[in-house]
């Protein structure tokens, strides 16, 4: 059992480190040992104790010379989609099985500068394509709450590692729900901030207009610390924002907002209007999820908030729109993997065309190939207007749905993250579309670029031991606000403190 389990928050652990109750090095050693003895050996794709301990040493130096921050010495890990110097970056694909990046992703660099200690690279769905971490070329990851079930995806490894108590936080990426959904399935908290607030430089691109990094951790308060450190304008990413409305997109913005929205008293959330979309409570929603989410919203009402019924009429269109736009962008983003400069190159081929074809056929898994083919198709001459262009128009409609309600009907939107609790591993093997359909509540938020988060709000399933997540969606740049609202909820409930096996 890792030492981490003695601490209920990053702040508490940080205090202990500052008070010299333990050193970053001891903590790192202990964490590495816990990871080593963790039964699911598919969780981490690359561990290098030397590199981790070196970072721990740096952290101890920072703690000694007074330059430490709230994240110094805190054990984290990166989804294997963030390029790292030293550790391999595989995107959970055979295509990049032996790839080592000469540079760190901006997010990795920022967390490193803050003194956090990287424990290694976490498994995920290959090239971020999937909702169950079954699409990793290196083996499916197990949900710590039930080893027969998926942890969710694509950031399944990140969610599982935090849920298993192996880390205080992990980085993930969310393109259509890939941070929120595994957070929900694994009973941890996760957030995808407003598109453009975190640099995408160094994140292996899946769908450029949708990808956004986000942290996973045990609580909204922990998320706030991680998110603040990860965020900021990066000139190397042309889609990175310099300003969030009037505020500079820089460290401090989110923590400031988080603190400003902290509420005390009997009815701390008085005045908060929570929009609940009718379309999120459709026929596909399982009863146990519906009740848990309902109960959570009632809890918010008990804290003073008002529930408002709203409509997001184009919710059902988010699935076709997303599954046209994301594969289209992915098909182009993944063209660079041709075996010429890096990555897998076939060992036998007759000419250039053959080399490229074979390398890609051998390097990419089925879901990746499926999405590249779909993406190529929808961008083709004769189909572009009917598919890609049309999907972008639908995207505009979905954005307008959200803006209409957030303008004057409600301040935040709440609903389920997923229609069900985590399913069994392997169940959708012959039906790839079934997984696509379960993204219905998360896709719209990604298409609109809005901040969205997931926090544990109940347990369901046949034995009432499988986590259920509540989704909280805010308006642009309001990540600090929704984190504060979630934090208030977490001060009055303890779903986020439940651990696997203790349910």
């Amino acid at each position: 059992m890792s030492k981490l389990n003695e601490f209920s928050s990053i702040s508490e652990l940080s205090q202990a480190l500052h008070d010299k109750k333990l050193s970053a090095t001891e903590l790192a050693q202990d964490t590495l040992a816990a990871i080593k003895s963790y039964p699911d050996n598919k969780l981490f794709l690359h561990i290098d104790e030397g590199l981790s301990l070196e970072q721990a040493k740096q952290a101890d130096a920072m703690l000694a010379n007074g330059s430490a921050s709230a994240l110094t010495g805190i054990p984290i890990a990166h989804k294997d989609l963030f390029v790292t110097k030293g550790w391999r970056t595989t995107a959970a694909s055979k295509m990049l099985a032996n790839y080592i990046s000469p540079f760190n992703a901006t997010v990795v660099e920022k967390l490193l500068q803050a003194g956090s200690v990287n424990m290694g690279k976490l498994s995920c769905d290959e090239f971020a394509m999937g909702s169950g971490n079954e699409n990793s070329a290196f083996g499916a990851v197990k949900n710590p709450w039930d080893n027969e079930r998926i942890p969710g995806g694509s950031s399944g490894g990140s969610a599982a590692a935090v849920a298993a108590g192996l880390l205080m936080g992990a980085t993930g990426t969310d393109t259509g729900g890939s941070v929120r959904q595994p957070a929900a399935y694994c009973g941890v908290s996760g957030i995808k901030p407003t598109y453009g607030t975190i640099s995408r430089y160094g994140i292996i691109a899946y769908a450029s207009s949708l990808d956004q990094a986000g942290p996973l951790a045990h609580s909204a308060a922990d998320l706030a610390l991680l998110l603040d450190s990860m965020s900021g304008f990066d000139p190397q990413d042309s889609t990175s924002l310099e300003y969030c409305d009037a505020d500079l997109n820089a460290q401090g913005r989110i923590l400031k907002d988080f603190q400003a929205h902290q509420a005390q008293g009997d009815k701390p959330l008085k005045g908060l209007r929570i929009g609940v979309p009718a379309e999120f409570f459709n026929a596909g929603l399982a009863d146990d999820v519906a009740s848990a989410v309902d109960a959570a919203i009632k809890q918010f009402e008990a804290l003073g908030a008002t529930r408002v019924d709203i409509s997001l009429p184009n919710t059902h269109l988010s699935i076709p729109a997303y599954y046209v736009i994301a594969p289209a962008e992915a098909s182009s983003n993944l063209s660079r993997y041709d075996g010429v400069r890096y990555g897998h190159r076939a060992s036998e081929y007759t000419d250039l065309f053959d080399m490229t074809s074979k390398s890609r056929a051998e390097g990419f898994g089925e879901e990746v190939r499926r999405r590249i083919l779909v993406g190529t198709y929808v961008l083709s001459h004769g189909y572009y207007d009917a598919y890609y262009l049309q999907a972008q128009k639908v995207r505009r409609m979905i954005i307008e749905d959200f803006q209409r309600v957030l303008k004057d009907q409600c301040d935040v939107i709440m609903g389920p993250v997923t229609p069900n609790i985590a399913r069994t591993i392997g169940v959708n093997d012959n039906d790839p579309i079934a997984d696509w359909l379960s993204d219905i509540y998360t896709l719209g938020v990604s298409l609109a670029g809005l901040p969205g988060m997931s926090i544990p709000c109940g347990l369901g399933g046949p034995k009432h031991n499988l986590p259920i997540g509540l989704q909280i969606i805010g308006n642009y740049f309001n990540e600090g606000q929704i984190l504060a609202i979630a934090d208030t909820y977490q001060q009055h409930t303890n779903w986020h403190q439940r651990k696997p096996g203790q349910a």
């Binding site: 963030f82 970056t89 000469p102 160094g202």
Partner: protein
């Protein structure tokens, strides 16, 4: 059957920015392979493009120079195709919304003025280079090498309307465009290094027809001579093909300079579906009217404006004005000289620059910027002609001496005693002597032989060792023989 040749030119100009269009790698030519290619150029996982402002400014200046519309909003698009010298296997270009729309280019074809409309100009990145010789793979198989130094160099692709009707016109258009981009400082124009590459779209149709025939694109012509020859060959090839009952297939062709012919590019890439879509990694390029105005203010006076000034204000012929404005250095040299002379003597400055100075530059194979005789020195020489210190003929010798480093005009004139004899009395005396010494030539002149006059002038100049003022000699001699 009378045929009409229809030509449209697409010119790729490498922009003169220090770094690449979407990465900060150097664009300097000639470095060791793959030493100027960073993570972005190599398309490493996680790399992203970031726009180079200087490339945009050069595009704006081009748009202004050809009177085009500079788009306030243009969009970068991905052009998708697989090739090893294109690391991302897509090229970032512009498709539906380019940065420059329309425009015209005016020039002379011989003496005939001509204006060709431009369709558009857009920004894009250059690919790397494939080298197919001198490489062997691990098993001894012949291989190709990829050098990514060039990958990511900024290009402005300039597209003309298919209004060009002859190889000659095409060359004149290309030369004028070349001149202009060098003039603006946006491209170094070095065709050997690939800074200025021309693709020619050629088709033929019966004269009078308005329907366009199938066109062939001849790619990567990097000399004006090749451009001319390639168009001529291709037009002929198409005409013969059609007259023989065949059809022209729309395809991409290359010009083989050794064989002086075009041939089809063996390719699977010919009928490519590029699957263009707006690049989600780059926001739309927003160019405010203020920015356009800022660039306009910082632009040099354009050749067309200078030509206008030289003709109307300085009295130069259109031809001379055109010659002087082929290169900015030449125009600036000319203006520097003319500034130091009386306003009505600009023509004299033009003559000297287009005549003796040019001849010396050609002989020594140097540019005007490297001329050993600077504008002030040439002006000094011309002043001595104007004040009659020396004759034009003597001045030419003095110029050569100045070119060879013998010093300024005054010093040379003094040292060699070249001062012209302007004194009427002295000239009269010399003429009297010559007339007395050559009665036979005088006889011939009186008999009507004009040549005899010149002969007498020659004798006078010989006696004066070339230093007599020739206008005076002529005038006085005429008087005396009258």
């Amino acid at each position: 059957m009378d045929w009409e040749i229809v030509i449209g030119l697409e010119v790729h100009t490498q922009l003169s920015t220090k770094s690449k269009i979407f990465s900060r790698s150097s664009t300097k030519f000639g470095a060791e392979p793959n030493t100027q290619a960073n993570a972005v150029d190599m398309a490493l996982p996680g790399s992203l493009p970031a726009m180079n402002r200087g490339a945009v400014e050069r595009a704006i200046s081009f748009g202004l120079a050809v009177n085009a519309t500079v788009a306030n909003r243009s969009v970068f698009a991905r052009k998708n195709y697989f090739y090893p010298d294109l690391p991302k296997n897509y090229q970032i270009s512009q498709f539906e919304l380019p940065v420059v729309i329309g425009g015209q280019l005016s020039f002379l074809v011989g003496e005939e003025p001509c204006t060709i409309n431009l369709t558009r100009a857009h920004l894009e990145e250059d690919a790397g280079k494939s080298l197919h010789e001198h490489f062997t793979g691990p098993h001894g198989e012949s291989s190709s090498g990829i050098d990514l130094n060039r990958a990511g160099t900024p290009l402005l692709e300039i597209v003309s309307e298919p209004e060009i009707r002859s190889a000659e016109q095409a060359v004149a258009y290309a030369r004028t465009l070349h001149s202009l981009v060098v003039w603006l400082g946006m491209c170094d124009g070095n065709m050997q290094e690939g800074s200025f590459r021309v693709d020619a779209n050629v088709s033929v149709r019966p004269k009078g027809s308005t329907k366009l025939g199938n066109r062939c694109e001849i790619k990567n012509l990097n000399s004006f001579r090749f451009l001319e020859r390639a168009i001529q060959y291709e037009a002929q090839r198409q005409i013969e093909l059609i007259e023989d009952g065949g059809r022209v297939t729309q395809e991409t062709r290359l010009y083989d300079a050794d064989k002086d012919e075009t041939r089809s590019m063996r390719s699977k890439e010919d009928s490519h579906d590029y699957r263009y879509f707006p690049d989600p990694d780059l926001p739309p390029l927003i160019i405010s009217d203020d920015w356009i105005e800022q660039v306009r203010q910082s632009m040099p006076e354009l050749p067309a404006a200078k030509r206008q000034r030289y003709s109307s204000d300085m009295g130069l012929s259109d031809y001379d004005a055109a010659q002087l404005t082929m290169h900015k250095d030449t125009a600036e040299y000319f203006e520097a000289v003319a500034k130091q002379l009386p306003a009505d003597q600009a023509k004299l400055a033009a003559n000297w620059i287009l005549g003796d100075l040019s001849a010396h530059l050609n002989k020594d194979e140097i540019d005007i910027s490297q001329a050993p005789v600077k504008p002030a020195s040439l002006a000094g020489l011309i002043k001595r002609i104007l004040d009659k210190t020396i004759s034009n003929k003597i001045a030419r010798d003095v110029f050569t001496a100045m070119w060879d480093g013998d010093g300024e005009a005054d010093a040379i004139i003094e040292a060699r005693g070249l001062k012209q004899i302007n004194d009427t009395g002295a000239i009269e005396a010399m003429i009297d002597e010559v007339l007395a010494a050559h009665p036979d030539i005088v006889e011939q002149y009186r008999a009507g032989k004009q040549k005899a006059f010149n002969s007498l002038v020659g004798q006078v100049m010989k006696a004066a060792k070339g230093k007599a003022n020739p206008q005076q000699v002529n005038a006085v001699l005429k008087e005396k023989l009258a």
